[in-house]
């Protein structure tokens, strides 16, 4: 990793840590904030996909699928946004499900990495299992919202620590002139 990449990883970790701390302090009112962040993230992803289609994938054989994928992502983002004014327990379930899905994707990545013999499969598998476990715990304790908030915040802290650890990991810097 270069210094820029390390810095970016550490920064990402710190921001995630701050969000986790805010959630712990503010409590169940912070759900809406997290939901908005998720909406923003999905919107950006959807818009990026649409821009990618119009600038690049339009010329690709079978590129139309990229357009439709982008539209669905934006739709998903706004669907998420529409959940902001509903009972908090449902927001927590929704966030837990999204987390569980991300955990599932990490496990698939771990399987892929293992196929190729990459050492990162252990890390990906750990992330995936932790995400799914946390999501399940959130749903189990959903009636006791303060417990659920703590569990979710712990999940975010774990993610933050992995980003920060990745930033401080010793890697070789490669330059060519």
């Amino acid at each position: 990793m270069t210094y820029m990449q390390k810095f970016s990883s550490i920064l990402r970790g710190l921001i995630t840590l701050i969000i986790a701390a805010v959630m712990l302090i503010v409590g169940s009112d912070s759900y809406v904030f997290v939901l908005l962040l998720l909406t923003l993230s999905l919107s950006i992803s959807g818009l990026k996909t649409l821009i990618y289609y119009f600038t690049m994938a339009k010329y690709m054989v079978g590129g139309r699928l990229v357009l439709y994928k982008g539209v669905i992502l934006v739709d998903f983002a706004f669907l998420t946004f529409s959940f902001a004014d509903i009972p908090k327990v449902y927001i927590l379930i929704y966030l837990a499900l999204v987390h569980a899905f991300q955990g599932f994707v990490e496990i698939l990545r771990a399987k892929e990495a293992h196929l190729y013999g990459a050492k990162s499969w252990r890390k990906n598998l750990a992330h995936g299992l932790v995400s799914i476990t946390l999501a399940v715990c959130c749903i189990i304790f959903v009636r006791n919202q303060s417990t659920a908030v703590i569990i979710y915040s712990l999940g975010l802290m774990y993610t933050a620590i992995t980003y920060i650890a990745a930033g401080f990991k010793k890697t070789t810097l490669v330059y060519i002139q």
């Binding site: 970016s8 600038t55 690049m56 994938a57 690709m60 079978g62 990229v66 990495a113 002139q177």
Partner: protein, 369 residues
């Protein structure tokens, strides 16, 4: 291309170009080493990882695909395995981002091939070997780019192998599956490729990953639709292309050995073609996963000497045990110098064409180590 061509066929071409048996061995060893000289290998022997000429699959899985990561990937793959054919290619109604990737499409007889060969003049046998690897790969890997790109390197289900059965030509649809540990099945036309990834910069979309190992088989004749070709198919005749690669290598090595004055594009050694063309075509067309045995036999017939099997550990001790100031004179030291020179030259040319995909490059470096 694979070991059968990079090691054994390069030996044959070097010998036919006038190099001695020992010189040919050094050249072909270096040509094959390009496919194995990864950062992991270099780290293990205490060599500078900047000289990596390839990336192992597990390195690719862990490679970052942000801007800097992509530049590192592109520098390696475009310099050694997917030499761009035309860095100034034009295409209508395309933006800069698209054109940067389009211009990295590999193909034979581009200006960079001439630069690669001339860059190896009056250097070392190791550098010649590297140049021959790069030259050969321009034939095998044409139509793919050495940068992760879905819009350039993707393929679809319409991928057909052209076979001759009972005297007639037939097309058989190739089935790709994602199973890296399972060998390719020639009988059932079952080959392994990389998983489809919708992400433009995914490493799964690097080079000919989406076509698996198939383009590296010398017997393969196939038709498919490259992502960039506006729904036009291309027909690839590997036996013919590999023959051209072989003959062009002979010409290049005649130039590098001082037997001819110049190296130009689209010049193939006719003398070798007349004398050995049929024998070589027989090896190339034989339907087998690995043609090492046939090429080895041919090489030993030519020189009358034994060609040892490729051994990655052969020169490691020499490099590890050498003092710092004499490392550059070891086999691997000279290889590293050649690799750095090639990488810098190509990265610089890409940068000069106002394409930042290989990163920022200030000047060409020779004999840096």
């Amino acid at each position: 291309m694979q070991e059968d061509f990079h090691y054994y066929a390069t030996y044959c071409a070097a010998f036919l170009a006038g190099f001695s048996h020992e010189e040919s061995l050094d050249i072909c060893y270096s040509a094959q080493l390009v496919d194995l000289c990864s950062a992991t290998f270099l780290a293990r022997i205490g060599a500078p990882q900047i000289a990596a000429t390839t990336q192992l699959q597990l390195e690719m899985m862990e490679a970052r695909t942000d801007l800097l990561g992509l530049q590192n990937i592109t520098r390696i793959w475009a310099s050694f395995h997917f030499l761009p054919k035309d860095l100034y290619a034009q295409k209508e109604k395309r933006n800069k981002r698209y054109m940067n990737k389009y211009r990295l499409i590999c193909g034979p007889n581009g200006d960079l091939v001439v630069d690669t060969v001339k860059n190896a003049k009056d250097t070392s046998l190791q550098h010649i070997g590297i140049a021959m690897h790069v030259l050969a790969d321009t034939w095998a890997h044409m139509y793919f780019a050495g940068t992760p790109s879905q819009v350039i390197n993707n393929t679809d289900r319409d991928f057909f192998e052209i076979l001759t059965e009972n005297g007639s030509t037939i097309e058989k649809r190739i089935t790709f599956r994602h199973s890296p540990s399972t060998p390719d099945d020639l009988e059932k036309c079952l080959y392994t490729n990389t998983l489809h990834q919708g992400n433009e910069n995914s490493v799964m979309n690097l080079g000919h990953g989406r076509a698996g190992h198939f383009p590296d088989y010398s017997f393969a004749r196939y038709r498919y639709y490259p992502s960039w070709n506006e729904y036009r198919d291309v027909y690839k005749d590997n036996p013919k292309d590999y023959m051209n690669a072989f003959l062009q290598m002979v010409t290049a090595m005649k130039y590098l050995g001082g037997k001819i004055d110049n190296f130009e594009k689209e010049v193939y050694d006719t003398e070798v073609h007349e004398k050995y063309g049929n024998k070589i075509m027989e090896i190339l067309e034989k339907r087998q996963l690995n043609a090492c045995e046939d090429w080895e036999k041919f090489g030993e017939e030519l020189s009358g000497e034994e060609i040892p099997a490729f051994d990655l550990a052969k020169y490691q001790d020499e490099y590890i045990k050498a003092d710092k100031d004499v490392k550059k004179d070891t086999f691997i030291g000279r290889f590293i110098n050649g690799a750095l020179s090639q990488k810098t030259m190509v990265s610089n040319k890409i940068y000069q064409s106002k394409n930042m995909l290989a990163g920022f490059s200030r000047f060409e470096v020779r004999n840096k180590l």
